[in-house]
């Protein structure tokens, strides 16, 4: 069995990003593996540790140099090798990323029984890559998975839907989007980080397609007006708050 974990690098949320015309200037920003991708990598590594039939855990990422940060972190967690699809465009949409990965899988000749990715990408604020990749590969997928049992020919995954936990059985190969609480991602100790630097990392060019959508501009979100402070006794505050919510903000 071969497992592919898909990773992304995202800017540290505490860092400062500034907008340019068509660019987000990320100079000086620290990049890290997308937190949800850590669940995917951890799940992949645990399956390899628990089962005798997992030959290899491979990690893949699309992006510029920052993607290497995510790949090396995943290898320090225990992935065997990495594939870096080099793309220096500032903006690439989820469909583009999914297509690049689908094409890379096809070209590599590897067949994966299980693909794991994070539920959300925290830089694109998006959950679209996983379902799109599954569709390009013509395999089933399950979103927001909180428990996963992998059998020989199928996987049983539980995810949250409105008011319930739904358990879905999918035939392998399948793609699973990993949510919080699925596993507890390990923090790799320094020796593992050092070892990961020596693990094989293949660099490949993306297929020639470009994103079909284009970003015209990045802006800071519209400034919220200053906060209106409401004063008085608890009763006065309550009635004034309900009044402004009804009459001014018109949200009630």
């Amino acid at each position: 069995m071969k497992i592919l974990a898909i990773t992304n690098a995202v800017p540290d949320p505490r860092g400062t990003l500034t907008t340019g015309d068509l660019n987000i200037n990320s100079g000086g920003v620290k990049w890290a593996i997308n937190p949800y991708d850590e669940y995917a990598v951890e799940q992949a590594v645990q399956l390899k540790e628990q089962r005798d039939d997992v030959d290899e855990v491979i990690v893949i990422a699309v992006g510029g140099d920052e993607a290497v940060t995510a790949l090396r972190h995943a290898m320090a967690m225990g992935a065997d090798r990495g594939i870096h699809i080099v793309c220096n465009d500032v903006w690439h949409d989820d469909l583009y990323v999914a297509k690049c990965i689908a094409d890379a899988i096809e070209t590599s000749g590897d067949t994966f029984d299980l693909l794991l990715c994070g539920k959300t990408n925290l830089s694109r604020d998006s959950e679209s890559m996983g379902p799109a990749l599954a569709e390009f590969l013509d395999i089933p997928h399950v979103g927001s998975v909180i428990t996963l049992v992998v059998g020989d020919e199928s996987a049983t995954a539980t995810h949250r839907v409105a008011g319930a936990n739904e358990t879905v059985e999918v035939k392998l190969p399948a793609l699973v989007m990993c949510d919080k609480t699925l596993v507890d991602p390990r923090y790799p100790p320094l020796p593992k980080v050092m070892q990961a630097r020596k693990k094989p990392l293949e660099t490949i060019e993306p297929t020639t397609i470009t994103s079909k959508t284009a970003v015209i501009e990045f802006n800071s979100p519209p400034e919220k007006g200053a906060c209106t402070v409401i004063e008085g006794s608890p009763e006065e505050m309550a009635s004034e708050l309900l009044r402004v919510l009804r009459e001014e903000a018109k949200v009630l």
Partner: protein, 307 residues
């Protein structure tokens, strides 16, 4: 503007908002309803497609929507960015060779081509995105557009789909309550660590229900075990953008702010006037939540919200 196809989840108000988006774009509109629903025959559109699917399954739903796109000749597909919508849209885009613009907060027709804006980098920036040539699949955040009461008398056409045996729902375990999830809620009353216990959250549920909404929690409150992870609002919880967000005893860590700053109106209730939450709040109340929440609840009980 070419033909527009609106994808409808039964009993989901956010889906009905897509007709408002369609109207704004201008263009003949068809709809496809996931599962049989009496609503199909009165939707405000030309042709309404439907198909049978008791519970959402991605492969089957993709198949049905792709067929509807082909039959209707739609070049724009509008889907509410609910849990189901976000899961379905990328598959449909990949299946039909379209482009995808997800989670938009505005959608407009700029001389015949579609432009959307959506938050990126945890809401720190807003990206303006130009739709591609050909087919565009667009998901729109719930409550970014008003709903519609309009009805119509469309031609109804049923689409045949088969269950794909590579995906099967094997169990559904009700999580005890019918409490709605934070992602789909219109109004969220959120509590932080000062809530102090799971029992104290009952007062937030009472207030939230009077307002027709549900309860969220900060990471600190979830880590303390006061609320389940599913209720966590923030970058590593759920990113939400309701019409009204009431933060009770939440200081506003950057990850929390990034997860809720897109809300239309934010009310902050906090004893610390310097808490970062006041920087994103529309209305601020510097007071102990345990004093204000009961007062709000009492007044709402006396003059309830119109349903």
């Amino acid at each position: 503007m070419g033909k527009i196809l609106v994808v409808i989840e039964p009993n989901q108000d956010a889906s009905m908002q897509m007709f408002t988006v369609a109207k704004e774009l201008g263009g003949e509109t068809d709809a496809i309803v996931m599962n049989d629903c009496e609503c199909v025959s009165i939707l405000p559109c030309s042709t309404a497609y439907n198909f049978s699917m008791d519970m959402y399954l991605p492969l089957q739903a993709t198949d049905a929507v792709a067929k509807a796109i082909e039959i209707s000749g739609a070049t724009t597909v509008l889907i509410a960015a609910t849990q189901v919508g976000r899961d379905l849209a990328p598959r449909v885009a990949a299946r039909c060779g379209g482009s995808l613009i997800g989670d938009c907060t505005t959608v407009s027709n700029e001389s015949g081509s579609i432009q959307c804006t959506r938050p990126v980098y945890g809401g720190k920036f807003v990206a303006t995105i130009q739709a591609g040539d050909g087919l565009n699949i667009i998901t729109v955040r719930p409550n970014a557009f008003a709903s519609t009461d309009e009805t119509g008398s469309p031609t109804v056409q049923t689409i045949e789909t088969n269950h794909d045996d590579r995906e099967t729902i094997s169990a559904v375990e009700e999580s005890g309550t019918n409490e709605m999830g934070v992602a789909d809620a219109d109004v969220i009353v959120s509590g932080g660590r000062p809530m102090g216990s799971e029992e104290n959250f009952a007062s937030l549920y009472e207030l939230a229900h009077l307002l027709g909404g549900t309860v969220g929690a900060s990471r600190a409150a979830v880590d303390e075990g006061y609320q389940p992870v599913a209720r966590q609002v923030g970058l590593t919880g759920t990113v939400v953008a309701p019409r009204l967000y009431i933060a009770c005893g939440i200081d506003g860590a950057i990850q929390h702010l990034a997860g809720m700053r897109g809300s239309q109106v934010i009310v902050a209730i906090n004893t610390n006037p310097d808490a970062p939450i006041f920087k994103v709040a529309t209305y601020g109340c510097v007071i102990d939540l345990f004093e204000l929440v009961p007062a709000l609840t009492k007044q709402l009980q006396q003059s309830p919200q119109p349903a």
